[in-house]
């Protein structure tokens, strides 16, 4: 009988190898797939560099000086190594390693898909397909600490509407954000699912802001309000020909004379102020959109100018780094 036991043990490796899993494509958050659900949910976040100490992301502070934005591509080999390290925990004998070898392909394929579904809106379709390149940026600026909740938007083509147009959340040209997180009070990390051509960074909406356009003249500030159509929210005159000078209360700094402002608005019937301005109409006139910074505009291809490789890197990689 001892012989047959030996047989079983020798067979074990072969059996572990044959039991390689097939990556699943559809499962609920708590379902086990090629790996247990809790492991999968953690590894997906690990793949997007969650919890990785910052010194391992940026090895030297000189690489990310204050008031700078640094663009990058994500190294899949590095994140693969990260996941492999996590999976290596508890591998004691060769059987464990055979098992890991057999399961690894499926794990990687699943993680490739899952990392895109991490920030999915609950109503949206699940994303699938092969893993593409991931890129992103690190922003170190007092804008990050002073304006919490920055809005980042990336496009894979230069949108024809121009830099100040409005874009829907599900615009097909938009590139998904895989991660947008403040790593430190003044450091923002953003990962894109793809390589964007144009990136917009917007002032946080913080609710919506209300205000005017202003113009300074020595010690005086002049403010103007461009009236909007009550029904369509469009400006009555884009060229500013119908702009209203904002009246200020005499003798105090910055206090708006709302009564006279509403009288001025009432002259434009489309504003809805003619029959008496109410607070919703007043707020509508005052809504101001946040500032939007556009990076990588095709007209001004910054990324291409900034980085000038001096050796042919691909050759070096194939010659040196490939095992």
């Amino acid at each position: 009988m001892s012989n047959s036991k030996l047989d079983i043990l020798e067979n074990l490796g072969l059996q572990l190898e044959n039991a390689s899993a097939v990556p699943k494509t559809a499962f609920a958050v708590d379902d086990d797939s090629a790996m247990p659900a809790e492991l999968r949910n953690w590894l997906v976040r690990l793949r997007l560099l969650d919890d990785v100490p910052f010194a391992y992301l940026v090895a030297d502070s000189e690489l990310l000086p204050p008031e700078s934005i640094r663009w990058f591509y994500l190294d899949r080999r590095w994140t693969d190594a990260l996941v492999q390290g996590a999976l290596s925990v508890g591998t004691i004998n060769s059987d464990d390693r055979i098992q890991l070898n057999a399961q690894y392909e499926a794990i990687r394929a699943e993680l490739d898909v899952e990392e895109r579904n991490l920030r999915k809106h609950p109503d949206d379709q699940r994303h699938s397909g092969k893993a593409g390149p991931i890129s992103g940026f690190l922003l170190r600026s007092s804008a990050v600490s002073g304006w919490p909740g920055l809005h980042v938007r990336a496009f894979d083509v230069d949108p024809a509407e121009g830099d100040s147009a409005r874009y829907d959340e599900d615009d097909p040209r938009r590139i998904r954000l895989l991660r947008l997180e403040r790593l430190a009070p003044a450091v923002l990390l953003c990962l894109f699912d793809g390589i964007p051509k144009v990136v917009h960074i917007e002032e946080p909406r913080q609710g919506i802001q209300f205000g005017f356009m202003h113009e300074d003249n020595g010690n005086q500030r002049k403010a103007t309000l461009r009236p909007r159509d009550k029904a369509t929210f469009d400006y009555l005159a884009e060229d500013g020909s119908k702009d209203i000078d904002v009246p200020f209360r005499a003798g105090s700094s910055g206090v708006v004379d709302i009564r006279r402002l509403s009288e001025a608005l009432a002259k434009e019937t489309a504003t809805g102020a003619a029959d008496g301005l109410d607070s919703a109409e007043y707020a509508l006139q005052l809504v101001r959109f946040p500032w939007r910074q556009v990076f990588g505009d095709v007209d001004n291809d910054e990324i291409g100018q900034v980085f000038r490789p001096t050796i042919k890197y691909i050759d070096m990689v194939t010659g040196v780094f490939k095992p």
Partner: protein
């Protein structure tokens, strides 16, 4: 009806079903019924009137922190807010319209957001709520807090800065946002918000040379209840200006510090008057020059006396008194706003107090805007150090190459100090994403150490492996999940290995082409085999069945009945002879034999028991020496022998035995 994604809807106001305060609910019922005897009236079916008193609660002196969703500008922030109106967003959508104000048209919000520049008014914190309102004004009803904050302002400032009675309804509106839009929702539950806007642009200041000076502003959400009349009815008649002055630094700072000095030092500031007149710009300069007249000197002296003699907070006859005595109580938020603007007499320019529900501070500057920050960003790829890398004194220059690798100090396991290459996951060049480029599975970090042509090691991937390993180890739940996962796979592999190794056996039992799941049928099958065997050979498994009737035990009777009886009772047999009377007579007289049995036997029994014990011990010793550890240790009775196994029952071989025997034969053939 939900608003669309990324959209919002504005409402002029949302009226509460009931305004805040004490309410009485009176319920009465009128019943009528048709009975056989006639109609029953409501009088006959009287039901008592029910009265319920209840209170609609609403924040009045202090807004609970969870009710304030956001403020603009953000609290304690710096920035160019000079063309944006400050606002407060409140979760409770009806809050601004929950209280009615005397003398105000219906629908007028009782809240106003006022923006005060540094030095214009003062904020007192931790004040009894009775002192939170102007003396003479009372707010009936129950207060929500014991102590509140209040804003103390002069009438002249109210006229200048506060919204007018006409403005108030325009400055509060409600907003409905998409619930799934986290940016607009920001943690609200129903998507309805109330917004209160200020009427003042927080302009930065300029000094004489036209350079910008940051100005601190305090935004206060104040309660106007019963003080609606304090506001101007409509904006003042002088024609409005279509430009506005920047706050001038002198009117705030010089005045404030000078006041302080007078209180502390009790000296006059005669020189200051001239300065204020000389430097102060047009509209505000008048007020300031008045304030720095001899009046302020007198009040300063009076204040220092009053502050030392009594800490009576109600004795706030002059502004500077409170400034000095309550300074310790001021929260940080209120700093710089605790000094009154000018010590003008109360009669000329009375002070008003307003409860402050929420206040926050921010600084308005000219230059630093989001736009200027973003436009001046140094944009580049990671690893780009610019044309002229900034040199830090006392540091080696950063060693970075085009590939993004950084040279770092590395202490090897042997203790050598070397420099190695490291590159994080963020690369300055595109990566290919085809599968061939992916990293094959490594089982230890040393597998990922690479030596590059310059002879130095590249530790990037090895570090990544270690980081991943340590992060997993730092999460016990992940370690447990991994081990559980491996165990499952191991068990599955062992089972299939077992099946593969003995395939023929299982095929005999389960049939050809069985799958792993068929093994579940083994249990029922074994059960059926056993039952089958028992039925066929019951005497082997269960022994022969018990006979239906068993004979009784025979009682031995020797001799005559009287002999037996006499012997059994220990009496002579002749006792029971003769007729019944004489026999009874004899029995009555007979002496019952008493044998000293107990005592006699006791002695021998003790000896017996003792000898038995001795023998037992000897026996256990002897056997334990011989068998060593084969007996069972009983913690109570000491070592005892294991139960003796009966000789095995010989069982006739059945079908399973035949299969097993055949299997053993096969195995023997397999193994030479």
């Amino acid at each position: 009806m939900a608003v669309g994604k990324g959209k919002f809807q504005l409402y002029t106001r949302i009226d509460p079903p009931l305004s805040a305060g004490e309410w009485r609910l009176r319920a009465s019922q009128n019943l009528e019924a048709q009975a056989q005897t006639g109609e029953l009236t409501a009088e006959q079916l009287k039901i008592d009137e029910a009265e319920i008193h209840f209170r609609v609660k609403s924040p009045r002196y202090q807004l609970p922190p969870d009710q304030l969703l956001s403020t603009f500008p953000p609290a304690n922030s710096f920035g160019n807010y000079g063309s944006r109106l400050p606002q407060a967003v409140i979760k409770r959508r009806t809050l601004p319209w929950e209280r009615a104000m005397d003398g105000a048209p219906e629908g007028t919000p009782w809240l106003a957001l006022v923006v005060i520049a540094e030095g214009e008014a003062r904020l007192e914190t931790g004040v009894d709520i009775a002192d939170c309102v102007t003396p003479g004004v009372t707010l009936s009803g129950v207060a929500d807090v014991e102590k509140g904050n209040c804003l103390v302002v002069r009438k002249s400032l109210i006229d200048k800065v506060f919204p007018t009675q006409n403005d108030l309804p325009l400055l509060a509106h409600a907003r409905e946002v998409d619930i799934s839009d986290t940016e607009l929702m920001m943690g609200d539950d129903d998507g309805f918000l109330a917004v209160v806007i200020a009427n003042r642009l927080p302009l930065p200041a300029k000094d004489d040379d036209g350079n910008e000076v940051p100005v601190k502003y305090l935004a206060c959400l104040i309660n106007l209840e019963n003080q609606f009349d304090a506001l101007l009815e409509r904006s003042p008649d002088p024609e409005p200006l279509f430009f506005t002055q920047f706050v001038t630094r002198k009117t705030t700072f010089v005045k404030a510090t000078a006041d302080y000095d007078h209180i502390n030092m009790g000296t006059a500031g005669a020189f200051r008057r001239g300065e204020a007149i000389a430097r102060g710009p047009a509209p505000r300069a008048e007020a300031n020059s008045k304030g720095s007249s001899s009046y302020s000197v007198a009040s300063g002296v009076a204040a220092s006396k009053a502050a030392t003699s009594a800490s009576a907070k109600s004795q706030w006859s002059t502004a500077s008194l409170d400034a000095s005595s309550s300074i310790d109580l001021q929260l940080d938020m209120a700093r710089d706003f605790n000094i009154a603007e000018a010590a003008v007499g109360n009669l000329l320019d009375p002070e008003y107090r307003f409860p402050v529900l929420v206040h926050w501070r921010f600084t308005s500057t000219e230059s630093t805007t989001f736009r200027s920050l973003m436009e001046n960003l140094d944009s580049g790829l990671l690893g780009d150090v610019g044309e002229k890398p900034a040199q830090t004194a006392g540091r080696m220059p950063l060693e970075v190459v085009e590939t993004g690798h950084v040279g770092l100090e590395h202490k090897t396991r042997e203790g050598d100090e070397v420099r190695s290459w490291y590159r994080g996951p963020l690369l300055p060049h595109p990566t290919t994403s085809d599968d061939a480029d992916r990293l094959p599975l490594a089982h230890s970090s040393d597998q990922l150490r690479i030596v590059v042509p310059d002879g130095r090691e590249d530790l990037s991937l090895a570090s990544a492996f270690e980081v991943g390993r340590l992060l997993a180890l730092s999460r016990p739940s992940m370690v447990a999940a991994l081990l559980r996962w491996r165990q499952q796979h191991y068990q599955a592999a062992r089972l299939s290995s077992l099946v593969e190794a003995k395939r023929e056996v299982w095929e005999t039992i389960l049939g050809k082409d069985f799958v792993l799941e068929d093994l579940d049928a083994l249990g029922p099958l074994a059960g059926r085999f056993l039952v089958d065997a028992i039925v066929k050979q019951p005497e082997t498994f269960l022994r022969a069945p018990r006979p239906r009737v068993t004979p009784g035990r025979p009682i031995p009777v020797d001799g005559s009945a009287t002999d037996v009886l006499g012997k059994g009772l220990g009496l002579g047999a002749d006792l029971f002879r003769g007729d019944l009377d004489s026999m009874l007579e004899k029995v009555r007289k007979a002496e019952v034999p008493k044998v000293d049995l107990v005592l006699k036997e006791l002695g021998t029994r003790q000896i017996h028991a003792r000898l038995d014990r001795e023998l037992d011990i000897e026996r256990v010793d002897l056997v334990s020496n011989a068998l060593a550890n084969r007996f069972v240790f009983n913690p109570v009775a000491g070592p005892v022998f294991p139960p003796i196994k009966l000789a095995p029952t010989v069982i006739a071989p059945d079908a399973l035995d035949a299969i097993l025997a055949a299997e053993t034969d096969n195995e023997d053939e397999d193994q030479p």
